[in-house]
Amino acid sequence: MRVFDEELTALKERILRMGALVETQVANAIKALVERDTELAKTVIATDHQVNAYDVEIDEECIRLIALRQPTASDLRFITTAMKISTDLERMSDLAEDICERALELTEEPQLKPYIDIPRMAECARTMVKEALDAFVNRNADLARKVCRSDAFVDDLTSQIFRELLSYMIEDPQTIRRAIRITFVAKYIERIADHATNVAEMVVYLVEGKIIRHTTI
């Protein structure tokens, strides 16, 4: 195996480790929110610096490979994809951190209502992240396209949650503080799903050389 191939494999593995970490962060953030687990929330916030370190390392490695190996064709597409994916993953990690912060604030007050749609939405977003990464590993454009399509479902749930919380707020202004925080959480999850979609779109580019961003599939 050539040195360059080994380097590319190492880069891929690093992205996967970063992805696994972010996936766990997202899952734990939702768990901390639903189970009002402040310790777990704090742990998630504490792991953010690991993800940041991955992001910097991956960027540096990609720049090094571009400078020294002058990649072309699929190698070039792989490296640019890796750079973009690491950015998206880092954003997801930040959003998980934001969810935890809102969760910590929410635990200071009594629970507004049982969470039903938020975990569903979060589960869907987490699956999207996982499948986007799987699609990246296996260079599976079909799976990536499926991820892009799931984004609509998350968007629908977001507006549904927003409407529901609006009714709470209109009925009882006491709930506004909490309802707004939960709205934020829904928005964060929706953003995570968007980033997962970005990753999936990059995977399509990696495999097919076609940029499908800003187009409707």
Binding site: R2, F4, P71, T72, A73, S74, R77
Partner: protein, 253 residues
């Protein structure tokens, strides 16, 4: 931008004795564009470019079948004078090959063969050609010194100037930088991009980065066949063919 075809190759086959060097090549080269030909050694890229001005006619045992159309005129049609073709389609070779004569005489060689004798006209042609080849400032004070005293990069630019002096429409370049250092190579590449305004160019190169840097269209040859032909940016970011991909990314063989 208007895209006119300058050279059109149809089903070109070529042989050296019994060895077939080109198989069913068909591609067309656009006017005022640089077409790069890349491929591993022995893929027929030099043979191909040497078919475009019939310089390979001089090779013993060389045979061609198929058509090469230059502005609609078949170069290999009976009655076509290869000398006229070579005046309209100039060539620069792999190794700088200036004549062992003064710089001036090198550039004036082609025009003199065409019967231009007036000193003033020759002077003007020599100056203009050397300027086009970005060499004038370096040699204007030593036009009557031997061309062999120039550096490799200067010699190659002199060869380009010499080719331009007969005012061709197409310039063929057969690995023009393979004997040059990176700085000289950079200057030649810059020159080619500059010349693109007025000339159609075909460049054969071993250096894929060079093809990527200078060309608009790239043709990838292997074993005497055209594997892929397309816009350079597409060939280098998203080649359609697996073999091209392997060659471009260095996973060849």
């Amino acid at each position: 931008m208007d895209e006119t075809t300058a050279l059109e190759v149809h089903d070109l086959n070529a042989w050296y004795g019994h060895t077939q060097a080109l198989r069913n090549m068909s591609l067309s080269m656009m006017e005022r564009r640089i077409t790069a030909v890349i491929g591993p050694s022995g893929c027929g890229k030099s043979t191909f470019i040497r078919c475009l001005n019939r310089i390979n006619d001089l090779m013993p045992g060389f045979r061609v079948a198929g058509r090469v159309l230059f502005k609609g005129q078949d170069l290999y049609a009976p009655g076509v004078d290869p000398i006229e073709i070579r005046l309209r389609i100039g060539m620069v070779f792999q190794k700088p090959n200036p004549f062992p004569k003064p710089i001036y005489d090198n550039v004036a060689y082609g025009p003199r063969l065409c019967g231009i004798k007036e000193r003033a006209r020759l002077d003007a042609l020599v100056e203009e050609s050397l300027k086009k080849a970005a060499l004038w400032d370096e040699v204007k004070d030593k036009l009557h010194h031997s061309a062999l005293a120039l550096s490799g990069g200067q010699q190659q630019r002199l060869c380009i100037a010499r080719a331009l002096a007969v005012e061709p429409e197409v310039l063929l370049l057969d690995e023009p930088c393979s004997a040059l250092d990176p700085i000289a190579t950079g200057r030649i590449e810059e020159l080619l991009l500059d010349l693109k305004k007025n000339y159609t160019m075909v460049i054969v190169t071993h250096n894929m980065q060079q093809a990527a840097r200078v060309s608009d269209t790239t043709a990838f040859f292997m074993l005497g066949q055209l594997v892929e032909f397309g816009p350079t940016s597409q060939i280098f970011t998203n080649p359609r063919d697996k073999v091209t991909e392997d060659y471009i990314t260095g996973r060849f063989g």
